[in-house]
Symmetry: C2
Subunit: 554 residues, 2 copies
Amino acid sequence: MIRLAITSALALALAAPAQADTLIDNVDGMTLDATGGVDRFTGLLVGDDGRIVQVLRRGDKRPGKVDYFVDGKGQFLMPGLIDSHGHVMGIGFGALTLDLSETTSLAQAQAKIAAYAAAHPDRPWILGRGWNQELWGLGRFPTAAELDAVVGDKPVWLTRVDGHAGWANSKALAAAGITALTKDPAGGKIERVATGGKPTGVLVDAAMDLVEKFVPTPRPEDRDLALATAQDLLLARGVTAMADMGTTIEDWQAYRRAGDNGTLRLRIMAYAGGTEAMELIGGPGPSPWLYDDKLRLNGVKLYVDGALGSRGASLKAPYADAPHTRGLRITSDTQLKNLMSRAALDRFQLAIHAIGDEANAGVLAAIEDMSATYTGDRRWRIEHAQIVDPADFARFGRHGIIASMQPVHQTSDRLMAEARLGPQRLTGGYAWKSLATTGAKLAFGSDAPVELPDPFAGLAAAITRQGPDGQPFGGWQPQERLTREEALAAYTMNGAYAGFAEGRFGRLVRGERADFLLVDRDPLLATPSDLRATQVRQVWINGRLAWDAATAKR
Amino acid sequence: MIRLAITSALALALAAPAQADTLIDNVDGMTLDATGGVDRFTGLLVGDDGRIVQVLRRGDKRPGKVDYFVDGKGQFLMPGLIDSHGHVMGIGFGALTLDLSETTSLAQAQAKIAAYAAAHPDRPWILGRGWNQELWGLGRFPTAAELDAVVGDKPVWLTRVDGHAGWANSKALAAAGITALTKDPAGGKIERVATGGKPTGVLVDAAMDLVEKFVPTPRPEDRDLALATAQDLLLARGVTAMADMGTTIEDWQAYRRAGDNGTLRLRIMAYAGGTEAMELIGGPGPSPWLYDDKLRLNGVKLYVDGALGSRGASLKAPYADAPHTRGLRITSDTQLKNLMSRAALDRFQLAIHAIGDEANAGVLAAIEDMSATYTGDRRWRIEHAQIVDPADFARFGRHGIIASMQPVHQTSDRLMAEARLGPQRLTGGYAWKSLATTGAKLAFGSDAPVELPDPFAGLAAAITRQGPDGQPFGGWQPQERLTREEALAAYTMNGAYAGFAEGRFGRLVRGERADFLLVDRDPLLATPSDLRATQVRQVWINGRLAWDAATAKR
């Protein structure tokens, strides 16, 4: 960023309309227009408030004097990407937790644990995940003593790769009061030495709770660090705004702290985790847009069913690979309508998790039922809308429903989905194009940290229905592929619309916030594999440099 | 407020240093100087940011052009008053609750209840207090049927004047599931008809809980209304800032909503109700000053003992009127130090409730113990410091302790205090002058809604040690009287200091926020009874008119 000249106070007063402008010029710029078509430009003039004053094309006269001038050197400039479904704090905490999944021996794991503990001396507990004694060739579970040898002064608690066992050191066992006298809980097992029953350090399934209830909740400092970490990770992948699904009051307070002290860079559209958090965070309705449109509580996240992989998704017909079950509802129709009413009455937006076709039909029916009472611009969001009965497609096009979907889930899940659903129901799976065609607004996200928060991977999946390996040939259910422009809209302007943010950000047009990326290639022209490899060089949010590859911690 | 002229953008740019000034001129102005002496002036020039640009004296040249000009017409202008101990939301909720204490017959009470219910159709429950069947000449408790006759469509719950009984209508009894089959709880009694055991509607002592656990918690709208009401009540008495003792997360969210939407007029220095609320509200430390210094979480309120009236205050020697008890500690020395450490470690300010001489000695010992570890500018606050052993007076002068005291408690409590303490211990009661003389900083407040939030009554009590009736002749323990200047300092600059706000507000000097009152008399010259009758005409906060007697709802 080059500071060209600071004009005098007098000149500033005369130079209507803007007072401290930034000109980003000499770029290969692109945005979508109001109808989703591509608009190309070569410069952006941004005002002191971070809003775009003028979009400049080749040949347009440049302002004579500006306060800041940035030479884009011909780089490609595109709108900041909006992830419409993620978990901001989960991304941060996930990144901060010790990850042992790449270790290939106990000694290597021990070294990594020791280094991590040394690097984080102020952590009251050392927490981690991902170990697998099979990969270590150990032939047995590891022991508390093997942990004590590297961290003996504070509790250590590390969960196995499958999440079904935990490995504690002696301090953690002591904190939990686990001794030879402790009985195995129902559904769980305390691994013990052959004689005397002394615990070895590994606790299986329900026995893990014996320790986990003593793991301290994160401190505010930890939350602030998680937020800073999540922001870095998201900006590095070009995400400038995220719909945060399941915001707690603790999360919200961390967002406000960052807003108050000027370290909130990412835009966060928050959906509270349940109606109690909604009321505590928002009060009598959605919050205002805070901190130059960086933060707003839009509404509430509700759950109707579980996930497909664990057969918790609620299906109309039995699972193909488990004919005794159709999954289950977390929330009944009556409960759902009660919760929806409570939120809609105060004009909170509803974002409702529905994976299975029965769950989606249930949400559609609830929306149809409530739309007569709760009129106006509601933008009912169905989160995931993963498996939909084709007979229900058309219902998505009514009442202004938003299909908030995650392209990478399709490529990650497809073999599992084929097993769960059998061949007959696949046409209703991840049916982006079909739902969009009905008139539903399609907003794309990652569900990070469940998946990596990488919108370029999402864009590639969206236009190919293929994974990073190019499989399957021709794409999975390829009739659901989108055009590049449709996919980009789902990651930009539609994401803004889905969060009541259109006109504020999502497109690079006069009056919107200047949120843009400088990247090393044109995503509208790159091959799918090149698109996945897009490198983000700089991220600008609200007209200010928010992340720079040249200086970022990696 | 008269708008004289809007200067042009060009003239604005040239008219250094301020851009949108307000001149309040032709006033009989007064503030305290840095040493607590009186400084008189005739005009204030206030910048666009609400800070004082210049204090103008007779003969000082006035600026040639200002954006707003206010002619004070010779009125008396004084600093806004700081109430260093109150409960903002309690003041608002208290004012919003139906008050039956003035009713003299059942019929009059019924009429008042009916009118209140009609005036508040959106309240899910009708709540009130203050009834007394003795004053009504009823010779019995009132009945549910007598309430049903005036409010039958929603629950009504009214507590007796002494707080030891509640009167429910049939809807409230039904909501609580109370029938003839319900047994009396331990320590409580359900009033019943002679035959059949049907509840009459009145519940005594512990039986009140049967209903109270079903009384809905306030909705965010209710909290917002309570805050608006409290602000009106406080501003009307000249209070421009309050230390809010025992802030909950719900309170804080209401304050932030008001700050976010521009309706926060009062300055609030918040002390969280306990360390959990402290951490949730403040995070890793005190919040920043928010909304132009209108809101900050300074620290945490802790309790060491109870109150003198109920013999909950912890005394060194037995109560004079109950020799079997010395009162009791709510928090032990060890607990207190643990809680203080947790707060002080993260630089939260401590505000510790201590009424009895034993409790005050305990807090002093804890502060002395911690001062070696938690060094620097801590401003340990002792709230009330009501009864202090004269042997402990000098300890208040060390470690920067603040004695946060409430003058009106002295006049309200004196007969009760004499009964509880006997004649020997009165020299340590409400010992403002003695504590200030040791070097402790004296900050005055009201404890509203326990007392009325009226600083003029407090000023009069502070300089007389007499009640509004002029009793006792010569003043109670008159050696503790303060000068007017000392009392005013305790309601202004010392209150700011006690909240880490010195330099921001509390005095009318260049660089501080322009928080001032226009009043109808000079509190430094009025007789004590005239001082109590001071009428506040206008309240200006941050250089803007915040309350005006001419237009205020009464």
